[in-house]
Symmetry: C2
Subunit: 360 residues, 2 copies
DNA sequence: CTGAAAGCGCTTACAG
DNA sequence: CTGAAAGCGCTTACAG
């Protein structure tokens, strides 16, 4: 009489042994059902069921096969932060649609803000076939870690040029310049900008040219640069531009930013927010001050999230969902088409109800 | 003279061999740096760098250790779909915040709508330490697969009672009843409901009592039931309630729903949308019809997403981010506190600017 | 259709 | 501080 097997977690081996079959056959039941007789298949499935065996262990399987069928996504911020941005959610939604078609899972990797980076990054241990890096600052340590893993890498938005990576994003500078030209055309001569943090080293309040000109968040830098380009092309002095920096990217920050800007420069007639979420908050802040938009101040955003159109916000439209889909495609076609591809997303200025001629 | 090793991907073993060290020592350099002399550590790290070795292979490591440090999240819909709902994004954000603190990654598993379920579910192969299932219909096959894996399981919203799982969600029925009482108090006697799909088997158009009473999406069922409760407690006949079902959960669907409802029952004075996203669309549809809200029609939502407050929507407020955080906590404390816990989320009716006395 | 065998790359006691 | 050895659970040619 054999001893009854101890009540451990069942494995392929234990199922095989209990049935006096080889593990190869049991494996085939799950992986190549057609290579196995009906009788055996049923036998195995029943035994598995009885033993509470849910099929081959996922991590042993993945280890053995060498493919994770998973794409890792790295965000700038804490995940919990990033997901509050509808633009990021839209991006993720587009990415998910590429992945679903290919049967890929998405692993969200909480990279944490650079300060945390002393510890081993979750990027090191992520079981993935490649990475999509969403908008991280230049020199980000998680990006560095991802690069070392020698897996396909797709960078979204920033940093601008990462060796061995594909890239997808808009031309932030040109897009924002076009928006500023719209404003200048309306007669605006004093422009304020509300930005979320420009650099890894936090700073709140007015940001001078040196500060924003060397920002390691290159998307922010370029958007501001685009406005500066337009202003200077119109012959306006550097003082025509005021930048107010906040730490977070939220409606609250946008509201604070607008207040700060108008408190210190009451002659500002147009406030460009670096993103729609900030602009939504700025709209509310203008109302709090008893200012009518657009009659008293013009306010603009960037991204064109769904709420922007409902709020009538004038903004720069970029294809957010498509951005995610393209990032997914880049990963999927990485082997065939190699790294180094760049996909510039089309943008346009969408004029709605928050911009109007400057009041003088 | 030894042959130079072939240019394969470097491994712990190849690094060890090239340095004439044991693999245990090389492993220690990465896993227990303190157990290793400075000299050896540097030696190994340099050799690894030169060889392009990024550290122990993630999946071999995970296989060996037996812990994935990853939580799997299963959504009802295609992921790409789910992420368009700000309530889901807020939930995920809360979940991410619990996970970040614990150093867990989040694996988003595209479960796909039930029709797809014939194939092997991604749930089977997901390398995770547990699952959070977000609002799936009763009898969902992915949920069944997840249950079989014998891992900690947390169910959010629905289904209602899953054996061996923890649960977190609001009391949908009571919450919606309270909202309906608010409406009845304002004199409304004919109420329309716009719902996204009620059952796995799609159907668009009017949903009769049998349809919604047996809906496998229990959240929808309960919310409708809550309104029916209030109406019947007020002595109103079943015909006081009209339900319009759409397939998707989107602003467009909400707009279509409102139009359909008012086309067929022009005497409806209040439209309850089963969620805020639908309500946002219904608001727009009312405008399209030249109806003033709330003077001509009252419109309500459910969830209280950020945009709801900006739109002035009267709705049921539930703590969305907290819901995610609690789901994360449940997973984290699963071992200690065992399954079967239920956390009922508090809700309240938030009256804003889209409800007013009924026009007669 | 079924099975014996090799081996994926690593970590962990344990011994020295 | 360093190393020899066992083994995690599985899949895949290959042979019969």
């Amino acid at each position: 009489v054999e001893p009854t097997p101890s009540p451990k977690r069942p494995t392929l081996t234990s199922i095989a042994r209990s049935l006096d079959l080889s593990i190869a056959t049991v494996s085939n039941v799950y992986n190549h059902p057609d290579r196995v007789s009906d009788r055996i298949r049923e036998l195995v499935l029943n035994a598995a069921d009885a033993a509470g065996y849910a099929g081959p262990d996922a991590s042993a399987r993945q280890f053995r096969r060498g493919r994770a069928d998973t794409l890792g996504v790295i965000f700038t911020d804490e995940l919990s932060f990033a997901l509050k941005d509808p633009a990021a959610a839209a991006f993720l939604s587009g990415l998910a649609s590429s992945c679903e078609d290919a049967g890929l899972n998405l692993l969200l990797i909480p990279a944490g803000p650079p300060p945390h980076a002393a510890k081993v990054s979750a990027v090191t241990n992520a079981i993935v076939d490649g990475f999509v890096v969403y908008s991280v600052p230049e020199g980000d340590p998680h990006l560095g870690t991802a690069m070392k893993r020698n897996l396909p890498l797709v960078v979204v938005d920033e940093p601008d040029s990462v060796e061995g990576a594909d890239w997808v994003g808009p031309d932030d500078r040109a897009a924002m310049r076009e928006l500023a030209e719209h404003l200048i055309g309306l007669g605006h001569r004093r422009v304020g900008i509300v930005s979320s943090r420009l650099d890894v080293v936090a700073q709140t309040g007015p940001a001078d040219r040196t500060r924003w000109g060397t920002a390691r968040y290159s998307v922010m830098r370029k958007r501001i640069q685009g406005i500066a380009d337009a202003l200077s092309a119109a012959g306006l002095p550097p003082s025509a531009l005021q930048v107010e920096e906040r730490f977070s990217y939220s409606a609250e920050a946008g509201a604070e930013g607008l207040h700060a800007l108008l408190d210190r420069s009451p002659d500002i007639t147009a406030v460009c927010c670096i993103g729609d979420v900030l602009a939504i908050g700025a709209l509310r802040a203008a109302e709090e001050r008893g200012l009518r938009v657009p009659d008293d101040v013009s306010i603009t955003g960037f991204d064109d999230i769904p709420e922007a159109s409902r709020a009538g916000l004038t903004t720069v439209t970029q294809p957010l969902v498509e951005k995610g889909a393209i990032a997914g495609e880049f990963f999927l076609t990485h082997a065939a088409e190699g790294p180094g591809r760049r996909h510039m997303l089309p943008t346009h200025v969408t004029v709605r109800r928050t911009t109007a001629p400057a009041r003088h």
